[in-house]
Amino acid sequence: MAELHVELVAADRKVWSGEASLVVARTSSGDIGVMPGHQPLLGVLESGPVTIRTTGESGGGTVVAAVHGGFISFADNQLSLLAEVAELTDEIDVERAERALEDAKSKADEDAEKRADVRLRAVTAAR
């Protein structure tokens, strides 16, 4: 089966890279799924979870990452997800995110609320 190579990079580090069969991300005009052989694409990402269905030696699996804004670009079976901040769900501290969400709600800090919400949604999506 055809595969696509995925690079998920944040501004200060490479978060994840590997082979995948499907990547689902949210662009400003809606969710988009990219499979191998997709037309070259360049889109603006919304904050939200990105789901990567992996293939490779370890077999099929799913990697979910919380992405806070960024871009998706795809060409020649190379998919790059660029984000200023990106975290894999394994790296997310659920309790901390929940606390942050409560905190942000009580302080009416919209940005922080959104960040915490994106993290929690990503964790939920991974389950």
Binding site: D12, P40, L42, V44, A75, L82, E84
Partner: protein, 307 residues
């Protein structure tokens, strides 16, 4: 102990203390270079992917974006100068400032008004002392810059570029920083960030990357919107990269300066020890000759009284 000898001993002691300090600073700088280099390397994938995306949009669409097209008569140019907060780094800061001065002259000769943005208190002090106008300055993070710092620096620059020239905006965006070439070589370079120039030799992430023709992209939602979102990120990433390289260069320059300071202190201790030894020997010689002189004078006096 002779007075001369005591002075030498005291100086040796003080130089030894200085040597210990400079040696410690050298070690600290050396360990920080590695860390800074690692950060530069870690930021590389994002920067190169972003550059590729920008190139793809700029070449793959007919979008006439103000940030891509050169103004017919550029009137104002922003120059971002990156220096450090602290000195003791040899010629690091003065080289960067000199680079900015040359760029400013060149821009002025082209009839452009220069608007200065400065990172690092050394640069701020230089401009402050000469009463030059500085649009904005940033200090406090030059040793270990984070992406958030880069965003803070880039925000007013992006705003200035997006403002109409007639309303005080700028047409061009230049950056002067010290490029980290190797442990031994760091040079101050200036680069034009915006409007983008393609295929031009220079430093930093270059559009294209020698990959040849890029495929025709499908833009989501539209080329203009993608570009609008991309360019600020592009500026931020360039600023971030420049900050990181400048930090690595600063640490390398500090290391070199402190190494030569340590070497000088060693040299000084050596020559002072020689002088102290000579002074001690002179003291001893004098004492001996005094004793001998005294003894022979005594002998002469005794011989006289015997007669």
């Amino acid at each position: 102990m002779g007075a001369q000898l005591r002075v030498y001993k005291r100086r040796i002691k003080s130089v030894t203390a200085t040597k210990k300090i400079t040696r410690a600073m050298e070690m600290i700088a050396a360990s920080r270079i590695i860390k800074a280099q690692r950060k530069v390397a870690a930021s590389e994938p994002y920067a190169s992917e972003l550059t590729r995306a920008v190139t793809a949009v700029a070449q793959g669409s007919d979008a006439k974006h103000p940030l891509l097209t050169e103004a017919e008569q550029p009137k104002r140019a922003a120059v971002l100068l990156i220096t450090s907060d602290r000195g003791l780094a040899g010629g690091y800061n003065s080289n960067a400032i000199k680079g900015a001065e040359q760029l400013n002259e060149r821009l002025a000769a082209e009839g452009k008004e220069v608007v200065s943005y400065i990172v690092g208190s050394k640069g701020v002090a230089y401009y402050g002392f000469r009463n030059r106008p500085v649009k904005e300055s940033f200090t406090g993070f030059t040793d270990n810059p984070t992406y958030a710092d880069a965003k803070a620096v880039a925000a007013p620059l992006i705003e200035a570029v997006q403002t109409e020239t007639a309303e005080g905006g700028v047409d061009e965006l230049h950056i002067v920083y010290t490029e980290f070439i190797s442990m031994m070589t760091q040079t101050a370079v200036d680069a034009r960030m915006l409007p983008l120039s393609f295929g031009e030799g220079g430093t930093g992430p270059q559009p294209g990357g020698g990959k040849g023709v890029l495929p025709l992209y499908d833009f989501e939602p539209s080329a203009e919107d993608v570009l609008d979102a991309l360019l600020p990120r592009y500026v931020e990433s360039r600023v971030y990269n420049a900050l990181l390289q400048a930090a690595a260069s600063k640490h390398a320059a500090t290391r070199r300066a402190m190494k030569s300071a340590t070497d000088n202190a060693e040299e000084l201790i050596k020559s002072l020890t020689r002088l102290a030894n000579a002074a001690r020997q002179a003291d001893i010689t004098q004492e001996i000759s005094e004793i001998v002189g005294g003894a022979s004078a005594l002998a002469d006096a005794n011989a006289g009284s015997d007669r």
